[in-house]
């Protein structure tokens, strides 16, 4: 099941408590870490919690999750593929 990137961006902003930014300012393809949104390793852990809490997806192997965390688009695709039906 596809999920809206807008919804996902809203959840990221809320979960990471980002200030002065709205979903429309986040590019679907921009990197989440380093450049782009500029997230760090603690944010990565918070995103792992978000996936479990809001989408029921448990990431046990960080290598499995690494490609998913490239951008909002890849994260939305990962959620759509892994989300329990």
């Amino acid at each position: 099941m596809q999920i809206s990137t807008h919804e996902l961006k809203s959840k990221i902003i809320e979960s990471l408590k980002l200030q002065d930014i709205i979903p429309e300012q986040i590019d679907d393809d921009a990197p989440l870490f380093g450049t782009g949104l500029g997230l760090d390793s603690i944010d990565a852990l918070e995103l792992v919690v978000l996936l479990e809490r809001d989408y029921g997806i448990v990431i046990k192997d960080i290598e499995e999750g690494r490609p998913a965390f490239r951008s909002v688009k890849t994260l939305a695709e990962f959620i759509a593929a892994k989300r329990p039906q």
Binding site: L16, K17, L18, Q19, D20, I21, G38, I42, D43, L45, E46, V48, V49, L50, E52, R53
Partner: protein
């Protein structure tokens, strides 16, 4: 030159946090770090005027990180477990780290759990010993309702900051200048010698 002076003083409270604009990541800081950072930003001192490794930070927290520790512990039963972000703030020294990151300071830093009387003398010692030319002195009182019940204190959310520096300033710092809160209340930001 052995003279140490107060350059600026400021105070911050929870009421001031809503309007604080201290970067995209300010929201993820715990209450203590937010208050400390806001108090230091309110000093309105241009810290880039000195080498970043010559400015120290001396911070005291009245209740350590207990309020955040309790928040973190209370989150253990939620789906996904407690917040990883909160975990980073379960050390009283986290606020000093956030100040250093925000202002890109790399000088020595000290952290104490206790009252405000230790902060200024320790900050002045850093300067006297030659470890720094200036020192950001911060005292935080971040006590949540849950934390207050545990340690029999009323809830509080305030911080005050004083910037000490070698040389002349707003007024000379003397050994008996130990109570930070009254000093900060006395020296308004408008009078800061920046």
């Amino acid at each position: 030159m052995n003279k140490i002076s107060i350059i600026a003083a400021s105070m911050a409270s929870q009421a001031g946090l809503a309007g604080a604009r201290l970067g995209q990541r300010f929201g993820r800081l715990d209450l203590q770090s937010q208050l400390a950072l806001l108090a230091v930003a309110s000093l309105n001192v241009d810290f880039t005027a000195q080498p970043p490794d010559r400015i120290g930070i001396c911070l005291a927290a009245s209740a350590g990180s207990l309020s955040t520790d309790i928040n973190f512990w209370n989150g253990r039963n939620g789906t996904g477990g407690p917040s990883p972000t909160l975990f980073a703030y379960t050390l009283p020294s986290a606020a000093a780290g956030e100040i250093a990151i925000h202002f890109r300071l790399t000088g020595p830093n000290l952290c104490f759990v206790g009252d405000d009387k230790i902060v200024l003398p320790e900050g002045a010692d850093l300067i006297r010993r030659g470890d720094a030319d200036g020192c950001i002195c911060v005292f935080c009182e971040a006590v949540s309702a849950d934390c207050g019940k545990l340690i029999s204190l009323p809830p509080m959310a305030t911080a005050c900051a004083i910037f000490l520096k070698r040389g002349d300033g707003l007024r000379e710092w003397r050994e008996f200048d130990r109570d930070m809160k009254p000093l900060c209340a006395l020296i308004s930001p408008a009078k800061s010698a920046v």
